[in-house]
Amino acid sequence: MPLFTMVKRALANVTGKPATLMYPATPAKQYDVSRGHIVIAIEDCIFCGNCQRHCVSQAIVVDREARTWEIDRLRCIICGVCAEVCPKDCIFIEPDYHPSSVGPVVELVQGPPAPPKVEKKAKTEE
């Protein structure tokens, strides 16, 4: 009658090293492809709003006039669709996850002033 079939495993575990990753003493496990959080290279953004339209949980708000790109961290499911649809490939997925918070986290990223205007000015100056 196979009783106590687990004994071997249990004793092996006691004598061996525990499997536990001592997080937070040791850093979190992650891979290159891990989907941690979304970042934007705002300099490259053309505020087309594609990401906003495709985002499955409406985490992104793009304001073409104010040249802002806004993300609600508590809505983003880090699916990466925005990165995929971005025509300028200026959205990236970083492997480290976003920390917890005690309230809403909405990040507003202000883009640089529109470059075309600068160009125009430069022309007139010349």
């Binding site: 499997a19 536990t20 937070p24 979190a28 409406q58 609600d72 996850y97 920390p99 917890s100």
Partner: protein, 146 residues
């Protein structure tokens, strides 16, 4: 420091999630992450619990359950919303049956993002909740003292 931060007992409820976050909560208890290192025990019983981990965007039927469970926890207590569904409703925000976040039903102290929230994230969230628990405990004794 009060002992409550050394022995926070948790209860977990799946308030209409997709399971993804729930199994990650459970994974936190298993050898690789081992929440018991922090004295955390999964009680499954609101009356023994100090920390309430809720996942999911809370639907019509779960609302009452979440509320009851919260009410049955003795003070001091904290609520941790785990996963995007629990924080804002996530991809299901626009579903007809979803309240859109745990804070629509009970006060939430810590929001843990992620879909699914990673175990490390959850550990962080719980640890952050302990600070709040300690504060609440201090407030409670002050009030009790008067």
């Amino acid at each position: 420091m009060s002992y409550i931060t050394k022995s926070p007992w948790i209860i977990h409820y799946d308030g209409s999630s997709c399971n993804g976050c729930d199994i990650e909560v459970l994974a936190c208890l298993t050898p690789l992450y081992d929440l018991e290192r922090f004295g955390i025990v999964n009680t499954g019983n609101p009356k023994h619990a100090d920390v309430f981990l809720v996942t999911g965007g809370i639907n019509e039927q779960s609302r009452e359950v979440v509320k009851n469970t919260y009410d049955q926890m003795p003070d001091p207590k904290v609520v941790v919303a785990i996963g995007i569904c629990a924080t804002t409703g996530g991809v299901f925000r626009e579903c007809y049956n979803i309240m859109g976040g745990v804070d629509k039903v009970i006060p939430v102290d810590v929001y843990v993002p992620g879909c699914a929230a990673r175990p490390e994230s959850i550990i962080d969230g719980v640890v952050r909740a302990l600070g709040i628990l300690e504060e609440k405990r201090t407030k409670m004794t002050e009030k009790g003292g008067k």
